[in-house]
Symmetry: C2
Subunit: 164 residues, 2 copies
């Protein structure tokens, strides 16, 4: 399926907006190169989370590590790179937990979700504009702490992990 | 927490984009009035889903019923209105399953997720530009059909429902 016509109406730094014409109607679509997120569990049985300011929420949120794909980058490579840079984690056994559209009504972001079990702690290399605090939750506490999670990919990831 | 400055850089039909300055850095943010989604289960024990073309995905997706809040509208009222309009469902016992940011890195969409149990089928009143097919899945099949779900709110909603 393809639109009859598409034009860029906003060309931003991180975000572009396209208007597509599909037959009789038009759709505004936020363009996005795709993303990855990782449910990372270390050898002590703790899930690694990041707490950071999320400007759209105007406060800090606790989320699983995630990042945006570079053009042409394999999503598994993105996931391993993000986990190393954000959390300093390497190694582990990797598998795919799922894949989904984050907001398919108006945004082209497709997210691959991975499980990395037995990851090994090292040195993080955060981006300059990322002020990220690492949080570790024992896997046994996840069930009772779901109501502390206010991010869709984190809820989906933690619940899919608990459901394996 | 508040930005030091904010300016609108794209004023669209459904989507606006704001650039906020927070100290030394700027953030592009997709503005959104907030949304609701409903895990609706009828008296026969079936979950109601909608299948529709999602232009950003360029194909049809199966999702729980959802909609955008009108300015000032209580989210529970939005949820009941959307469920009646999209699916023709009324009645039922309502409770809140959760609430989350759908993509907190770049978008201000906050979503309230409800559970409506024992809803009653009636006549739907879809919008003119909505070509929506209703799909009913027995609750007992949800566990084995999670891999058919490719929408974050639907995964989170169905998994939270299975986890109650």
């Amino acid at each position: 399926m393809k639109p009859d016509d598409a034009r860029t109406v906003y060309d931003g730094k991180l975000i572009d907006v396209t208007v597509e014409r599909w037959g009789e109607h038009e759709r505004e679509i936020v363009e996005h190169p795709g993303a990855v997120a990782v449910v990372a569990v270390d050898r002590e049985g703790a899930l690694w989370l990041v707490r950071q300011l999320r400007e759209p929420a105007r406060r800090q949120l606790v989320e699983i590590p995630a990042g945006t794909r570079e053009p042409g980058e394999d999503p598994l490579d993105t996931a391993k790179r993000e986990l190393r840079e954000e959390c300093g984690l390497t190694g582990g056994e990797w598998s795919e937990l799922g894949a989904f559209w984050t907001t398919p009504g108006f945004c082209r972001e497709y997210m691959h979700l991975y499980l990395a079990e037995g990851v090994i702690a090292g040195e993080a290399e955060p981006d300059d504009d990322e002020d990220v605090e690492i949080v570790r939750w024992p896997v046994g506490e996840l069930e009772s702490r779901l109501d502390e999670l206010e991010d869709a990919k984190t809820l989906a990831g933690v619940l899919l992990f608990l459901h394996r």
